[in-house]
């Protein structure tokens, strides 16, 4: 077995194994095979090998995906994902060492909540050919290809959803799952005649800030439910990014649940080794074992909180300028 390859990555998705054990295996693999992660983690206390604690694994700042090639040594990428953004310097690059892991991650988590065999996936996003380097579009393309419905497809952006298509899906007795960025879905509503059958599901994929008017998640959920004439419990969200091969879903609420091979903690922006208590805002830290060949231990720049049940909510972006902060305004003490 080459050193940079695991004989079998099935263990990542194996529910019978503990997260702790899997994380330890992936951590050791990374230390052995990623010089970048090895150098980074060398500057932190090493997790205790006697009683390995995944929470003591050092988390690499996500900007590494902009500033370096994050992939284990001697492994050729099978896929390349790039974040959206202008200018090559500002875009993250995710070199995916094993496309099958991504496929498995997508299907396993999606089917945990949704019936792919009897659902029509409608993606109100640019099509795959227009954006081959988007991990989201790749995921949607894959879900469309795997769905059991002939009606699954990318919808033309800038046009209302064809009521005849919606009717055909309903007539066939299939569930309708509409994916889209928040601003795109709002555009559909504004185009009018956006009613969907009552059992339809909407999965918004973020992107609220790019809409003409900034909205809170609560306002968005309410607007989508009203605009598409479906119950708000059918409005879900997906949390994913180019740097991650796993997605988290929030089902009918603003709180995201992680897949079993992912762990999310909130980290103190002034010390990423300190885990914030439930309700305390900080940077979202992610262990995504599906990222085994790039970097599974990531400190994002997203601002979030966890609740007592371990679910997390994305509050916004962590604007690091406020850490430098010219001044202190109204003292918090």
């Amino acid at each position: 077995m080459p050193e940079n390859t695991l004989q079998n990555t099935d263990f990542i998705f194996d529910k019978s194994l503990s997260f702790r054990g899997k994380a330890e295996k992936v951590y050791k693999f990374q230390r052995q095979n990623s010089p970048l992660y090895h150098t980074f983690s060398d500057h932190f206390s090493q997790p205790d090998s006697e009683s390995f604690d995944p929470y003591s694994i050092p988390l690499l700042p996500i900007r590494a995906f902009k500033e370096a090639e994050v992939i284990v040594q001697n492994r050729k990428p099978e896929l390349l994902f790039k974040s959206s953004g202008t200018g090559s310097l500002n875009r993250s690059k995710h070199l995916v060492g094993d496309a099958d892991i991504y496929r498995r991650s997508i299907i396993t988590e999606f089917t945990r909540y949704f019936d792919l065999s009897n659902s029509a996936i409608l993606a109100y996003t640019p099509g795959y050919n227009e954006n081959r380097h988007s991990s989201l579009i790749w995921m949607l393309n894959y879900l469309i290809s795997k769905s059991g419905s002939d009606f699954s497809q990318f919808l033309p952006v800038g046009e209302p959803i064809d009521p005849a298509l919606v009717q055909q899906i309903a007539d066939k007795g299939e569930a309708l799952i509409l994916f889209g960025a928040a601003f795109g879905l709002m555009d559909v509503i504004e185009m009018g005649d956006a009613d969907l059958p009552a059992g339809s599901v909407i999965i918004e994929t973020g992107g609220m800030k790019t809409h003409r008017r900034e909205m809170t998640k609560h306002e968005l959920r309410h607007a989508l439910a009203e605009g598409f004439q479906i119950p708000s419990e059918n409005i879900h969200s997906e949390y994913g990014m180019c740097e991650l091969l796993s997605q988290c879903y929030s089902i009918g609420s603003e709180w995201f649940k992680t897949p079993p091979w992912v762990d999310v903690t909130i980290r103190d922006p002034e010390d990423s080794t300190r885990i914030c208590k439930p309700g305390e805002e900080g940077k979202i830290g992610i262990i995504d074992l599906a990222n085994i060949y790039s970097c599974p231990f990531i400190l994002t720049d997203d601002r979030g909180i966890v609740n007592e049940d371990g679910l997390f909510r994305v509050v916004g972006r962590w604007d690091s300028a406020e850490l430098r902060g010219c001044n202190f305004l109204i003292d918090s003490d």
Partner: protein, 358 residues
């Protein structure tokens, strides 16, 4: 020029003279309490007081007050709320003086991080009738339901809404209250040589007050790389820190950034509580100096890119011209004249034209 204004400026000058007199025990006690409570280092407070002794002279105050002195109409006196920051000793002094010079009623929220120094002046100003007794507090609740007609403060862009929400909840101000909000948070130094004087001035401009404050240099543009001058520059820094040790310790995030830089191959210099790194990223966290190799073209690019947070561009040579900005001298980075314009706005002028402000 009306007599009231002249009288006010004379009383202000008297108050400042009295405050900065070596035998002012109130100020001495304020310094002692500040240092003993480890709010700021003695060296930083001393530096600030020495700078004020040099810059708070009648000539400069009159220069700053010129628009008021030239103003023919009577200025309508208004209640001005100053939310003073506490990241540097006496950093809110300029807003206090601007309010008095413009002839308005001062109300000050004193920072709990700097609770003694400004009040030692306020007591004298109150004695001279320039501010009212009880016009300052460290607890904003004390001003609840006292309407402010304008607000002066400095802080991050993100915090502006939170501040106004809090002021609105307390019945002090609304989002319609005119506000002079300063959000710039870092400065750039442009140097062309590594001569002794340049490097000493650079060290002072970066490391004074532990790099805090919007006038502190957080990015340097130089024709040479960090790597080529690392050893020499760190010697200057060490010399500076021997004289003025850094008061605050850096959070663990700084060392974690060092680890990150090492992993991705960014050239850097680690100084225990400070990090110098060769990147042109927007200065965002404290205790980091960004070193950028380049000339005027690169500087221009950075000025444009980071205009939102950029306070000042400093140059060593007074003859150097920079497109689009009025550079200041590097030597003045930590000793600005009292009339300097944070975020490019003259606060006295702003207060003079309060009725036109939004």
């Amino acid at each position: 020029m009306d007599n009231q204004t002249v009288d006010r400026l004379n009383r202000l000058d008297d108050a400042i003279t009295e405050w900065l007199r070596p035998d002012n025990h109130d100020l001495k006690e304020a310094i002692d309490r500040t240092v003993n409570q480890k709010l700021f280092s003695f060296e930083d407070v001393k530096h600030q007081i020495l700078v004020l002794k040099k810059t708070l002279n009648k000539r400069d105050i009159l220069r700053w007050a010129e628009p008021i002195l030239k103003h023919d109409d009577k200025i309508e006196e208004k209640n001005i709320l100053c939310l003073h920051a506490g990241n540097l000793p006496l950093v809110g002094l300029q807003d206090l003086l601007a309010t008095i010079i413009a002839g308005h009623h001062y109300r000050g929220k004193i920072s709990r991080k700097d609770p003694y120094l400004l009040p030692s002046l306020l007591k004298i100003l109150a004695k001279k009738g320039l501010v009212e007794q009880n016009s300052w507090t460290t607890d904003l609740n004390d001003f609840a339901h006292q309407k402010a007609e304008a607000v002066l403060f400095a802080g991050s862009t993100n915090s502006v809404n939170d501040v106004f929400n809090e002021l609105e909840n307390m019945g002090i101000a609304t989002s319609n209250t005119p506000a002079l909000v300063r959000t710039a948070d870092f400065s750039i130094a442009y140097i062309e040589d590594s001569a002794l004087e340049t490097m000493n001035q650079l060290a002072e401009s970066v490391f004074r007050y532990g790099g805090k404050g919007c006038r502190s240099v957080a990015m340097v543009v130089a024709p040479f790389s960090l790597k080529s001058k690392k050893c020499g520059f760190t010697d200057y820094i060490e010399q500076f820190l021997m004289k003025a040790p850094q008061h605050d310790k850096a959070p663990p995030a700084l060392y974690q950034r060092y680890a990150y830089n090492k992993a991705v191959g960014i050239d850097q210099a680690w100084l225990d509580n400070f990090l110098i790194e060769e990147t042109d990223l927007r200065p965002s966290i404290p205790y980091v100096l960004h070193w950028v190799q380049g000339g005027k073209e690169k500087l221009g690019e950075l000025i444009q890119k980071y205009s939102a947070g950029l306070q000042t561009v400093y140059v060593k040579d007074p003859t150097v011209q920079i497109d689009g900005v009025n550079p200041e001298l590097l030597v003045d980075a930590q000793q600005p004249p009292i009339y300097w314009k944070p975020d490019g706005v003259d606060s006295v002028e702003w207060l003079l034209h309060l009725n036109e402000q939004k």
